[in-house]
């Protein structure tokens, strides 16, 4: 373990560590543009220059490996002058169009100018080299060549992570710029990450373009619901509108990346939401009140079980629900309704595309959780569907907005066979168009809980903001239905439900929200 001194502070780091990481360990910030922990070291931006004793010249902290007894200084006049000079050079041809730049507010140039620059420009506005702005280069990305500082993070990302190599440097000197080859736009499923790793406003998101200023956004930890990978995300919202998802670093799952499909999943939490409970009477929607609808649904389920036998009541679970909700739903079905007609199904989008990196074929965040909690899928679901189609079910409780792979017509035809269908869902969809009673549920951003990823990693998603409209947390809905069926549950919130899961369900034994923490915990076995 080499021991070195940085700004007079002694630090022990493993051999092979670079100065930039050693400094980070003791909380000294060294400015950087081209350095990215998940990419190879390029050392071309020259922002991380530091003074190292016995070296005649300043060294780049990102590429200099520490030695035992090294003495590093990041706070000398020499370093400050060098960094300011580098920054001035980068800003020479910068268009300074911050008012119309989406990066403003989270821009490396803005931040470091305020910290290390604050110089007056010595370059005339007319002398600036102009490059092409607003270039749609494919994927989710808009390129503005003028704002680029040529750090090569994007080039390295496309070489080392996706291996597609669409972006390259062209021309020389003042005129060098990044661009694509003519007629060869970005063509991979991870283009959105380019906007995240670009330290300036050269690569910005097409989807987020001009939507909102970043300083209005608030962030909470969430999990992507796009597939069973369970990528950790930061959800950015203003009020009750989600604006974007960004990958949250988790080395065990998604490292620092996420896919383009996942990035757009936030839209369904904004659009076509079910906001008020309603019942369908003779084909027409009639707004209902929670206070009367919940007892009504509980009564109809119970009445069907008592009249025709528990075999004539069915529950369809959703792999979009959290572990907590699935656990309560299973107990509601087996203990309170006493039925064995309980199943869920996977939703595989399109041709079941998966790439072995982040994108999984199963487009649900919690299929594994449902299986672990003892809810059957596959053949059990098909059997339940044929039972419903044969008119064998009198009352059905559906979770989720779609019935797996069934189309809208198939769903309508199937649900028409059941005299009473109650749905707990977040969005308008095939089920809400056919259900007799719709109980609107809070979206992932509006509730908390845990998902189990395809490898069995239990991860938490957090409450971001109160539910829109009159939507309710599904846990609240389930507890209130259960209690009206005589369960006597006193669960309040997802934490108390998870405690019960950890106590009784073997795969989750011994887990707690504390042990799951920020980054999740693998189930046993």
């Amino acid at each position: 373990m080499p021991t070195l001194t940085i700004n007079g502070m002694i630090v022990d780091v493993p051999a092979g560590t670079t100065i930039i990481n050693a400094a980070e360990k003791i909380g000294i910030e060294i400015p950087r543009y081209c350095y990215h922990p998940k990419l190879s070291v390029a050392g071309n931006c020259r922002m991380c220059l530091v003074e190292v004793e016995k070296f005649p010249k300043l060294q780049t902290a990102c590429s200099t490996v520490v030695n035992d007894g090294m003495v590093v200084r990041t706070d000398t006049e020499k370093v400050r002058k060098a960094v300011t000079g580098v920054l001035e050079l980068m800003l020479i041809h910068h268009p300074i169009d911050c008012p119309i730049c989406d990066q403003a507010g989270e821009c490396g140039l803005q931040n470091y100018y305020m910290k290390f620059g604050l110089h007056k420009s010595r370059y005339d506005l007319e002398d600036k080299v102009h490059k092409k702005k607003v270039q749609d280069i494919g994927g989710q990305i808009v390129l503005d060549a003028e704002r680029c500082i040529l750090c090569s993070r994007c080039v390295r990302f496309l070489t080392e992570v996706t291996g597609t190599q669409e972006l390259h440097f062209f021309n020389r000197g003042d005129h060098s710029e990044i661009s694509i080859f003519p007629g060869r736009p970005l063509d991979n499923n991870y283009t959105g990450n380019l906007a995240d790793i670009c330290p300036v406003g050269a690569l910005t998101s097409k989807d987020f373009r001009f939507k909102c200023r970043v300083w209005f956004l608030k962030v909470f930890d969430s999990i992507c619901t796009g597939c069973s990978k369970g990528c950790n995300v930061d959800a950015h919202h203003k009020g009750d509108i989600l604006y974007r998802l960004k990958p949250r670093w988790n080395d065990a799952v998604n490292q620092a990346w996420m896919c383009d499909f996942g990035r757009l999943t936030y839209k369904e939490m904004n659009e076509a939401r079910l906001l008020t409970p309603f019942v369908r009477e003779e084909g027409a929607r009639k707004v209902a009140a929670w206070g009367s609808l919940l007892p009504d649904v509980a009564f109809r389920l119970k009445a069907a079980a008592e009249k025709g036998g528990t075999d004539r009541v069915a529950v369809i679970a959703s792999p979009q629900s959290s572990n907590e909700e699935l656990y309560l739903l299973r107990r509601l079905a087996t203990e309170r309704l006493g039925t064995s007609n309980l199943a869920f199904t996977h939703r595989v989008a399109g041709d079941g595309f998966a790439d072995g990196f982040l994108i999984q074929a199963d487009k649900n965040p919690n299929s594994r959780g449902a299986q672990l909690l003892g809810i059957p899928d596959g053949a059990a679901f098909d059997a339940l569907v044929s039972k419903i189609a044969g008119g064998g079910i009198d009352a059905l409780l559906v979770f989720g907005n779609v019935l797996g792979p069934l189309s809208e017509e198939e769903t309508a035809a199937l649900l028409a066979k059941v005299p009473f269908v109650a749905q707990v869902g977040t969005n308008e969809g095939p089920v809400s168009k056919a259900a007799n009673a719709v109980l609107p549920s809070a979206s992932v951003a509006e509730r908390g809980g845990t998902f189990t990823s395809h490898v069995g990693r239990v991860q938490r998603f957090r409450f971001g903001f109160p539910a829109r409209g009159k939507a309710k947390n599904p846990i609240e809905i389930l507890v209130s239905l259960g209690n009206r069926l005589g369960a006597g549950w006193d669960f309040a919130g997802e934490a108390s439900v998870f405690k019960a899961i950890a106590g009784t369900e073997a795969p989750f034994a011994g887990m707690s929200y504390d042990s799951i923490g920020m980054f999740g915990q693998e189930i046993k076995g």
């Binding site: 911050c98 008012p99 119309i100 702005k133 607003v134 001009f210 209005f216």
Partner: protein, 161 residues
């Protein structure tokens, strides 16, 4: 216990002629008549003006109702950077940005509403604007209106002034 007790003088009781207020009424009328007569004789000394036909001259730095500036080609100078909306302490500015058909402009305000009922006329928006697109130099107040909706000034109203 007399500690802390303060004796307050009670007002003197009015005598009967005083309580009729006759003398005071005549005195008051005298002041009114005096002003009327002096206004008839010397018109330039009159304090009141005949608003809205006549308007008072405002000091040059008076912060009045806003206007949005235009470029030479008539498009709004505003680039929808939200600096004014960020600086506004009353949160009365609502902007929706859009992609301008002119690639040299890129961003422009699709909507730019100022809720004049909420505005506190602090001038922070003018201070914050990097493009000198919003000014409060119209030299006049927000005129009254009969509905709240009419007092939410849209981009067209603001560009007119």
């Amino acid at each position: 216990m007399t500690i802390g007790v303060i004796k307050v003088a009670r007002p003197r009781k009015m005598s009967f002629p005083e309580s009729l207020y006759l003398v005071e009424i005549v005195k008051g009328l005298g002041v009114t008549m005096g002003h009327m007569l002096s206004n008839i004789v010397r018109q330039e000394g009159i304090k009141t003006i005949e608003y809205p036909e006549v308007r008072r001259e405002m000091p040059p730095r008076f912060r009045g109702r806003h206007r949005l500036m235009k470029r030479e080609d008539g498009t709004p100078r505003c680039v929808a950077c939200y600096c004014c909306a960020t600086a506004c302490p009353a949160k009365c500015i609502t902007i929706v940005a859009g992609e301008s058909p002119d690639p040299g402009v890129e961003k422009y305000p699709v909507r730019f509403d100022i809720d004049m009922l909420r505005c506190v006329f602090c001038g922070m928006c003018v201070e914050a604007c990097p493009c000198d697109a919003i000014r409060m130099d119209t030299g006049w107040f927000t005129p009254p209106d009969d509905t709240r909706e009419k007092l939410i000034f849209t981009i067209d109203t603001l560009l007119e002034k």
